[in-house]
């Protein structure tokens, strides 16, 4: 028995068995081939086993077998589509982890986020990554659209790809929007209240649309649950479907477009041929994607850990208190800007719908057969104009534009905003020296000469307060609402409790309309250990 056991034989049999297994697992590649792939060597077997993977493996069958060389030039795509997908996957993974700790009930949602951040190791990191990934995804998807527009890649056979792309842009924005509500803080609550309120302005079925979204006249338990389900079930499912179709179109049907110059430009046939050389998915494109992924993950993690990106969390949602500055997330500022321009139905519903319709129709409206920038002056001109309009509208959407807050309220809000940090809250606790400080024509150099460390931070807040108040008192060219005739202003700091101080802003002035003396007062409590986030 023992004699017949040939070690050599056993070894090769074992090798063969493993080799076979590997070929089955990789859907076509054996050990040797796998090694060649990793080293970037050409295939040894014929027919090329690396193509077979694309027919036998589910995951690979929506990936391309190859792209044409020139279409993989970095400055042609900037890998924006790839990174859109990358962020979608990051969102899916971090999102699933967040789901473990989150509970979509108004009385618990906020608490569950606090708990995640204070009691779950890496919990805050996951939340930061999810938030950052969401914002990045919006940016990358948008830039990807701009890129395909600029390279004229939406034309002819790619017009359906463009169509699915526009839908994906919408899905991405809606995903962000409903995700925004989930932490159930003031920021979220009011931004989403305004957003869903827009649905109400839709003609014909507005009331019903609003009720359907909010699950009642106001956002409450029903609204939160609906936003949650949209955010974690329906919209991701739609996104997966659309992305699959989008990817399938690109990788299995028409590939990535070549830079226009190789199609219609003045280049030698030699170069044209070279541009169409095949770059195989395995190993070149695949290793490139793996590389990009590692860069992407590093960039995300470093943004949080090294550069300190932190997902905001304001005070818990309070349906009774509308914050002074309600602000949509930045990628919806343009919509807020539009709303300031006119009627809710027209600006908030009809116009955006038209914009989407127009985007979808671009490939069919634009009948110019050329793709090169220089041969499409009208399209490029309109594109640039649209970008400018978007920027201007976004600026108009911020509270900086067109919101009239009375002077006293505005000044105090800027120094100590209701939500977020602001200059006052950044003053170190020990510098908040109790006392009553009245605003005068001149600002003292140091508000607290008795403290041996002084109070530069408090002094600079007080200086800003004085400057703003004095301007409102003296500058008669300001609009009425921004003035404080005969104004008097105080900053009062009191010791209130252990490690707790009370800061009062008090402003008195003569109301220009009624000539009566008016008072505005706000109290802010500051604790030594508050931490500024």
């Amino acid at each position: 028995m023992l004699k017949s056991l040939d070690l050599q034989d056993l070894k090769s049999k074992l090798y063969q068995a493993i080799d076979n297994r590997v070929r089955i697992i990789t859907a076509g590649l054996n050990i040797r081939e796998l090694r060649n792939v990793l080293r970037g060597d050409p295939p040894e077997e014929k027919p090329n086993p690396r193509y077979k993977v694309h027919t036998t493996s589910f995951l690979f069958h929506i990936r391309p077998r190859y792209y044409e060389k020139a279409s993989t030039i970095f400055t042609h795509t900037f890998r924006l589509g790839f990174f859109s997908m990358f962020f979608f996957v990051v969102e899916a993974i971090t999102g699933i982890i967040l789901m473990i700790y989150y509970s979509p009930v108004p009385s618990e949602a906020y608490q569950s986020i606090l708990n995640l951040e204070s009691n779950v190791p890496f919990g805050k990191l996951i939340r930061d990554l999810h938030r950052l990934g969401a914002e990045a995804m919006v940016i990358f998807v948008f830039l990807h659209m701009v890129r395909t527009f600029i390279t004229g890649s939406y034309k002819k056979e790619r017009s359906f790809t463009w169509f699915t792309g526009v839908l994906l842009l919408g899905v991405t924005l809606f995903l962000s929007f409903f995700g925004y509500l989930l932490p159930w803080d003031q920021l979220a609550y009011w931004a989403v209240t305004i957003g869903t309120g827009m649905a109400e302005a839709a003609p014909l079925f507005g009331r019903e649309a609003n009720l359907l979204l909010r699950g009642g006249p106001d956002i409450g338990a029903n609204g939160l649950l609906r936003a949650y389900l949209l955010h974690v079930v329906l919209l991701p499912a739609v996104a997966v479907l659309l992305i699959s179709i989008h990817y399938y179109k690109v990788s299995r049907e028409h590939g990535i477009s070549l830079p226009a110059k190789y199609e219609e430009g003045d280049v030698s046939p030699e170069e044209k041929k070279n541009a169409r050389q095949r770059i195989d998915f395995i190993p070149d494109l695949l290793s490139h994607e793996v590389f990009l992924t590692s860069v992407g993950i590093f960039a995300l993690v470093a943004s949080v850990i090294v550069f300190g990106y932190s997902a905001p969390l304001e005070n818990i949602a309070n349906p009774q208190v509308t914050p002074l500055d309600t602000k949509a997330p930045w990628y919806f500022w343009w919509l807020q800007g539009l709303l300031k321009l006119g009627d809710k139905t027209l600006m908030g519903v009809i116009l955006p719908t038209l914009v989407v319709a127009l985007l979808i129709a671009i490939p069919y409206i634009d009948r110019n057969p050329y793709r090169s920038l220089y041969k499409r002056p009208v399209a490029v001109g309109i594109g640039i104009l649209s970008l400018l309009v978007l920027v201007v509208l976004s600026y108009m959407g911020t509270p900086l534009y067109g919101i009239e807050t009375p002077a006293a309220t505005r000044i105090v809000q800027d120094l100590a905003p209701e939500e977020g940090v602001g200059p006052l809250r950044q003053v170190p606790f020990d510098q908040l020296q109790p006392g009553t400080y009245e605003v005068k024509e001149t600002v003292p150099r140091d508000l607290c000469p008795n403290l041996d460390f002084g109070c530069p931070a408090l002094t600079s807040v007080f200086a800003e307060y004085s400057r703003r108040v004095n301007r409102a008192i003296n500058d008669t060219s300001l609009p009425k609402i921004q003035r404080l005739p005969n104004g008097q202003a105080f900053l009062i700091i009191e010791d209130w409790q252990t490690d707790l101080r009370k800061v009062t802003f008090r402003i008195l002035w003569d109301d220009p309309d009624t000539q009566q003396r008016k008072t505005y007062e706000r109290h802010i409590f500051l604790h030594r250990l508050r931490g500024n986030e």
């Binding site: 608490q111 951040e117 990191l125 030594r528 508050r530």
Partner: protein, 282 residues
């Protein structure tokens, strides 16, 4: 090195860098989480202070000092040391506060000391019981109240150690010289400020757009035909209003709201100080 190899090597490098960052972050996690909890507690106290200022100071006083003979102090040593045993509560003080505040109090547990006013003596605050506050807000209020723990003065002892005999209710009594600065402190400590400065329970002492300060009004009232008291001077009017508040009721207010026992709890000197202070509020 082929492009594939280069990208694989760089990829490995980035993965290594990312892992290093994550490990470093992970090592800091316990500290970060502990700090986060401190910040959270600090913010709870801040929010609680604000809610207290809006909802509670009208009875329990801006600094939790309460009002002698009406509403209990919360910033009080007794509250933190003996109150739970006194009422036979087996849970924590935090639970006691949350439960009391949530459901309010129908009748006072100490009718002789702090009878309160009306029924219920304290309304229910939690939304669950028809009040205006959410549970998290009541937890914040509790955090704020509990933050008095280390500094709460012993008010019962302070009361027992009155600096002299009570002044009584004789308004013709000769009072010593008063000190307005001490008077201002007393007005806060004895809870007068609760009704007269912070909340519109009683007539405002400070000048408002509609009327002058208390000193000027005390002057004017002597010639008012509707005045039913016996005072001859502004100081005497103030004296009377404090020790015998129901002799003359200021129009727009009700009899019996202002505690009628200050004659028993103030000394001559304290009364004189408060009057001196009031006379400065023109």
């Amino acid at each position: 090195m082929s492009r594939v190899q280069l990208e694989i090597s760089l990829g490995i490098l980035f993965v290594a860098l990312t892992s290093a960052l994550l490990i470093w972050y992970g090592l800091n996690e316990p500290k970060r989480m502990a700090e986060y909890e401190l910040h959270q507690r600090a913010k709870a106290i801040e929010v609680g202070a604000e809610l207290y200022d809006i909802n509670c100071k009208g009875c329990h006083g801006p600094q939790g000092e309460g009002v002698v003979g009406l509403w209990p102090p919360l910033n009080d040593r007794h509250f933190f040391t003996n109150r739970l045993t006194e009422v036979g509560w087996s849970g924590t003080l935090e639970d006691y506060i949350i439960s009391t505040v949530s459901s309010g109090r129908l009748v006072s547990t100490r009718p002789d000391l702090y009878p309160g006013q009306g029924r219920p003596v304290m309304p229910a605050w939690a939304e669950r019981y028809g009040g205006p506050l959410r549970d998290d807000q009541i937890r914040n209020l509790a955090a704020f109240i509990l933050n008095w723990k280390d500094t709460a003065p012993d008010r019962t002892a302070q009361m027992a150690e009155m600096a002299g005999p009570p002044t009584g209710t004789d308004i013709n009594k000769q009072l010593p010289e008063g000190d307005p600065v001490r008077g201002q402190g007393l007005a806060a400590a004895k809870g007068c400020a609760v009704c007269h400065i912070s909340a519109p329970t009683g007539p405002a002492w400070l000048a408002t757009p509609d009327q002058p300060g208390i000193a000027t009004r005390a002057e004017e009232i002597l010639t008012d035909p509707n005045y039913t008291g016996n005072a001859k001077t502004a100081a005497q009017y103030l004296h009377e209003s404090i020790v015998l508040p129901n002799v003359y009721i200021v129009p727009g207010f009700q009899a019996g709201v202002m505690p009628a026992n200050y004659g028993d709890t103030l000394t001559d000197q304290e009364l004189a100080d408060i009057i001196a202070y009031l006379l400065t509020l023109k």
